[in-house]
């Protein structure tokens, strides 16, 4: 089983070339055991290649990859890694002429899992009612549910989900996110690739922002917020919004953004009580004073902007 002292996944200056294209370029990141790591980035950022390097389906041209303390590029160790990983690819594919059950049965044999576990996995993802149907007739959501069931029948230590909610209805998307949280709660290591920022909200222990095959930034969302959005933001609203114009002239306000309510960036959150007092003294009847935690979306674009400015 997992050794919590050993990082589940460790990439050190990993490069993968496809001809002249650097799909992954000197990528560094560590996924601690039992954590949820979200690889966030636009299409072509190298997320899928990273997943494939993790299982040893692809071998790195340079750098080192360690998964569960093993080297995926070694045939024997790679086999051990693959037997302990579950993968949901971006477009789950099956043998369409076979039924859902026959596909799961096949996976169970390959991963040396019990058939009962395959049945349980199908129940867990709500696809058990369709197991007698040929997969060729499945909807996108049903295929993804089956792929999710297939990925966990052997109770993997590491689960790699590559755009798992692409094309899913909200209910199915919720099921995926619930699975991630449940497995993480049981000490499993999860890596999820996505370009949908809202998906990473609330579940990520670590976000790795990828672009052009490399990690632009990595850390817990709070750490990233502290690094890229160090100035506190506070939203003000009032019954008479014209009074909020006073904020423009107050000390400590570094920027102001109006969108109905007023979003103010401060140099120090300690200034907030004085600001509220000033507004109230001026006759403002405040309806909202709320320090804002930046969303991943705001962080993402801030990090992108910071990187562009640096380069």
């Amino acid at each position: 089983m997992n050794d919590p002292m050993v990082p589940a996944i460790e990439f050190r200056r990993v490069t993968k070339l496809f001809g002249p294209v650097r799909a992954v370029s000197e990528l560094d990141f560590v996924a601690p055991t039992g954590s949820v790591t979200v690889l966030l980035g636009p299409n072509g950022a190298g997320k899928t290649t990273t997943v494939r390097l993790t299982t040893g389906a692809l071998k790195a041209d340079d750098g080192t990859v360690q998964v569960l303390g093993l080297d995926p590029s070694d045939d024997e160790q790679g086999q051990e890694i693959r037997s302990r990983c579950g993968v949901v690819p971006p477009k789950p594919a099956f043998y369409d002429q076979l039924t859902g059950w026959e596909n799961l049965e096949f996976a169970a044999k390959i991963f040396e899992a019990e058939l009962d576990d395959a049945r349980d996995a199908a129940v867990r993802f709500g696809i058990d009612h369709a197991l007698d149907q040929e997969v060729g007739g499945y909807s996108t959501g049903m295929r993804t549910r089956l792929a999710l069931a297939r990925s966990v029948i052997h109770d993997p230590d590491v689960l790699l989900l590559d755009e798992p909610t692409a094309g899913l209805d909200p209910e199915s998307s919720r099921a995926v996110l619930d699975l991630i949280q449940e497995l993480a709660g049981r000490g499993r290591t999860i890596v999820m690739c996505t370009h949908l920022l809202h998906e990473a909200e609330g579940i990520a222990d670590q976000v790795v922002l990828m672009d052009d095959g490399t990690a632009r930034a990595a850390g817990h969302p709070d750490e990233l917020a502290a690094a890229y959005m160090p100035e506190p933001i506070v939203v003000f609203d009032a019954e008479d919004r014209s009074v909020l114009e006073l904020l423009t002239d107050l000390d400590g306000v570094t920027s102001i953004h109006r969108n109905g309510s007023v979003q103010v960036t401060l140099d120090d959150l300690a200034r907030l009580p004085d600001m509220v007092a000033t507004l109230v003294t001026a006759g403002a009847r405040l309806t909202r004073v709320e320090p804002v935690t930046p969303t991943l979306e705001e962080l993402y674009f801030r990090m992108q902007r910071a990187h562009r400015e640096k380069t």
Partner: protein
Amino acid sequence: MRRHQVLAVAAADLKRLFKSRDYIIPLAILAGLFFVFVPGIMLPLIGATERSPLMAQIGDVIGTLPQQIQDNIAGDTPAVRTAYAFAVYLLAPIAIVVPLTISSAVGANTMVGERERGTGEFLAHSPLTVQEIYMGKLIASLVPGYLATAVGFTVYSLIVNLTVGRQLGGWFFPTTGWWYLILWVVPPFIAIALAVILRLSARVRSAAAAQQASTLVTLPVIIASYGIASGLLYSPAYSALIVGALAWIVAIVLLRSGARAVRRERLLGVAADA
């Protein structure tokens, strides 16, 4: 190599194949044509046209064969001797043509099909070794050809014995030469063809390209094996043993090296040469 995993790969492929009418119907027609239709029509016709000029011509042709071969052709009348010659010698190469054609049609699509469907991604991330994948695919490609041959050969034997056997005093088919052919000579030739076809299937970019390439490979193998099979039926038994042994050696060498063509990045469709 783990036997259960190999069989799981083969079983999944076979289940898929037997559910695909697009594959099964043409292959069944091919087997039916060679094993049932041709002998079922031709042999009774020969019996019914004993006094025709054609029969006289065929009799003349048989008369030009070496005495040793003529001695092997059983029957008292020209019609019976002609029917015997057709049943035992002239139709013999179908025993190779049918399984080779069927197995190569299946094998050509097996690797590239995984890539085209996207199912190769699952195999690439699975704990299966490339040798297990290769062996599973090989078995899945061999079985349909041999199944068709086993069923077809049985039906062919029945037809031949029922139509010609009465005039020859009972059941006479399969002859010893046919047993050698079916059990010892045909298998390695199919293996040789499949070893090459699976390599091609692992490398080419599309199923269509795989089919075209497999035709180029299969055709010379069919021609060579057709000639060999025909020749062996006229030859002493040890010839079949020697030819079969040589073919097995070539087949084993090709099969052992064939697994190297299977690579995970090819299953993913991202190899530079895939």
